[in-house]
């Protein structure tokens, strides 16, 4: 230990000296946080399992069931779903649901970090807060997409092969959805104090958002007020975009879907960054 001490002495003379302190760059802070989220994801195998199994249950038990039931009505039933088989209609929604749930879980990460103290380690660092937050969201988005890709491959096989181009386009749509939901989940979590509160909000939000997303049924025939709610739901644009990209069927022009989704993402990111920049312990 004495040798180490002597070695350390040099460092300490500098420590006690006039060192100006370093400037962590935007890129470094972003990379560090993205890396951390991905390292965490690697250690949490159960998360992968969880976010795949739930949507898969929907696809198999809900999708296969209704697909069979609708097909009993004959080809007329397909008119309801823009000419798609129900399983195909459902498939893009399932992919979006996977990344959406995984992305929202990003907020849960913030809650746990606050609970277990790691939040302070980040707050007390001199790195630009927006960079730390963006990196974190990006890392969670990539983690969500790993799950999204796994799901997309599964779904494409079960429901109907959309072609490599269709699959890629669908995944691009899923990526934007993942980003939007991570940002949204993070924004909500930053305003929450307890894990319980976050769970309540998530449950209150997630179910209506999923049902009004057009993932399970088309929203065009809905009463006007419900449709209005759907148009306010970012998930709707995500599902419509993914379906349009994969199978060429959409209710809203794809450009509009993409614009709506981008707007939600940017707004959530900006709000979350602003909130995080002003975060104190007390």
């Amino acid at each position: 230990m004495t040798e180490a001490l002597r070695e350390e002495g040099k460092a300490a003379t500098r420590a006690a000296g006039e060192e100006a302190g370093r400037e962590p760059s935007w890129g470094q802070a972003f990379t560090a946080m993205a890396m951390r989220q991905l390292l965490r994801f690697r250690t949490a195998k159960s998360r992968l399992f969880n976010s795949i199994v739930f949507p898969l249950i929907w696809l198999v038990f809900f999708g296969l069931g209704w697909s069979a039931a609708f097909n009993m009505l004959g080809p007329g039933a397909r008119m309801l779903f823009g000419g798609l088989d129900y399983l195909e209609f459902l498939a893009p929604g399932i992919i979006v649901m996977t990344v959406f749930m995984a992305g929202f879980g990003s907020g849960l990460g913030i809650i746990w970090d606050r609970e277990f103290g790691y939040f302070k380690e980040i707050l007390v660092s001199p790195a630009p807060r927006p960079a730390l937050l963006a990196g974190r969201i990006f890392g969670d988005t990539v983690a969500a997409m790993i799950q999204g890709v796994a799901m997309a491959l599964l779904v494409a096989v079960v429901a109907g092969w959309p072609g490599v181009g269709g699959l890629a386009a669908g995944l691009a749509a899923a990526f934007v959805s993942a980003l939007a939901s991570s940002a949204l989940g993070t924004l909500i979590a930053l305003s929450m104090r307890s894990p319980e509160g976050f769970h309540i909000v998530i449950n209150l939000l997630m179910m209506p958002m999923l049902f009004l997303s057009g993932a399970f049924y088309p929203i065009d025939p809905l009463p006007a007020w419900l449709r209005a709610l759907a148009y306010a739901n970012p998930l709707y644009y995500a599902v419509d975009l993914a379906r349009g990209a994969m199978y060429g069927v959409s209710s809203t022009p794809l450009v509009l879907d993409a614009a709506g989704l981008a707007a939600v993402t940017v707004a959530s990111l900006a709000a979350a960054a602003a909130k995080f920049s002003k975060t104190y312990v007390a």
Binding site: A15, P24, M35, R40, P126, A282
Partner: protein, 329 residues
């Protein structure tokens, strides 16, 4: 330039005053302790100094920068070990260190070199690639000290560095802090253990109910009590009376209720006891027992507040403070 200057720091939570004007200065290279019972305002003070709590009033400079107006400049120059662990348990020590280094602007090679040195300094060389989940409480605390030193901070902050540790783990953390002292690192620590403050700190501020009630080197503070207490037991009451006259020359002396023990309050007892005993022998007085007690910081606290630092309970105010803090966390 001082490492830390705190001027009249105030903080209230929903009308409750946690700090009511805390001022002190910490010089470069010293180990400075904020000593006080639970709920006295130590953690709040530290929170302000490390830029995570906004003061309601007053001003603090750390490494020359205002904590409220230039928090990023302060953050670049400090290392912090919080009371509760602030680590990612799912990652290894190395991964935690690497991410820490990156968000402080260090390069990979630099982090690698320093990580090895620092893990050795805190006695964790073999555990660099183990997940922190497998670390004990004491190892985590030492790891956090190493992590805080990674960026060569000008001031190292430690909030209750040994709370919740078993005696052995505590002793190892003390060893680490002592080596930091030898290295000239400025350390600011809070503690409610007076032994810890006495043993480690060059100077301490005693804080109670949001106010600094005394400041100085532990020896200085204890000297204010008038010095050591010497107990000399004579063989008989008559001897005790004679002994009292001799001892009276060295300080304030009286005979205790047993009639045979002379109690003397004096500075620097070890140097005076031999001469008293010498004079006593010359005068033919038989002294059957001689001992002395050094005052502790607890005695200082007792003198200033009428309460003991040792009783953990504290008053209802402390209780309220703790609960308010817990709620605000």
């Amino acid at each position: 330039m001082d490492a830390i200057t705190a001027e009249d720091l105030r903080k209230s939570y929903n009308g409750f005053e946690a700090l009511r004007g805390v001022s002190f200065r910490v010089r470069r290279g010293e180990v400075y302790g904020l000593l006080g019972p639970n709920g006295a305002g130590k953690t709040t003070t530290m929170g302000i100094l490390v830029t995570l709590i906004r003061p309601s009033g007053g001003r603090a400079l750390v490494a020359g920068f205002d904590v409220a107006r230039e928090p990023r400049e302060v953050r670049k120059r400090i290392g912090v070990v919080f009371q509760e662990p602030t680590i990612d348990r799912d990652l290894t020590a190395w991964q935690n260190l690497y991410i820490h280094g990156m968000i402080y602007g260090l390069g990979r090679r630099e982090i690698e070199e320093k990580a090895r040195e620092l893990m050795e300094l805190v006695g964790l060389s073999g555990a660099l690639h183990r997940p922190l989940r497998s670390y004990s409480g004491g190892m985590i605390r030492r790891f956090e000290i190493a992590r805080a030193l990674l960026t060569e901070p000008q001031v190292l902050f430690m909030d209750e560095p040994t709370v919740g540790l078993d005696p052995q783990a505590r002793a190892r953390v003390w060893d680490v802090i002592r080596s930091l002292k030898r290295l000239g690192v400025t350390v600011f620590l809070t503690t409610h253990y007076m032994e810890e403050a006495e043993m480690l700190c060059d100077r301490v501020a005693i804080i109670d109910h949001g106010r600094v009630i005394a400041e100085g080197a532990p020896e200085e503070l204890k000297a204010r009590l008038g010095g050591d207490t010497v107990y000399l037991r004579a063989a008989s009451r008559i001897d005790a009376e004679k002994l009292l006259r001799i001892a009276g020359v060295y300080g304030e002396a009286r005979v205790a209720e047993d009639g045979r023990t002379v109690v003397l309050v004096t500075s620097d007892a070890p140097s005076k006891i031999p001469s008293i005993l010498g004079e006593a022998r010359a005068a033919g007085i038989r002294v059957v027992e001689a001992r002395y007690v050094r005052p502790t910081l607890n005695d200082v606290f007792l003198m200033l507040t009428g309460r003991s630092l040792r009783d953990e309970e504290g008053g209802w105010r402390d209780w309220m403070r703790l609960h308010i803090h817990a709620g605000r966390r």
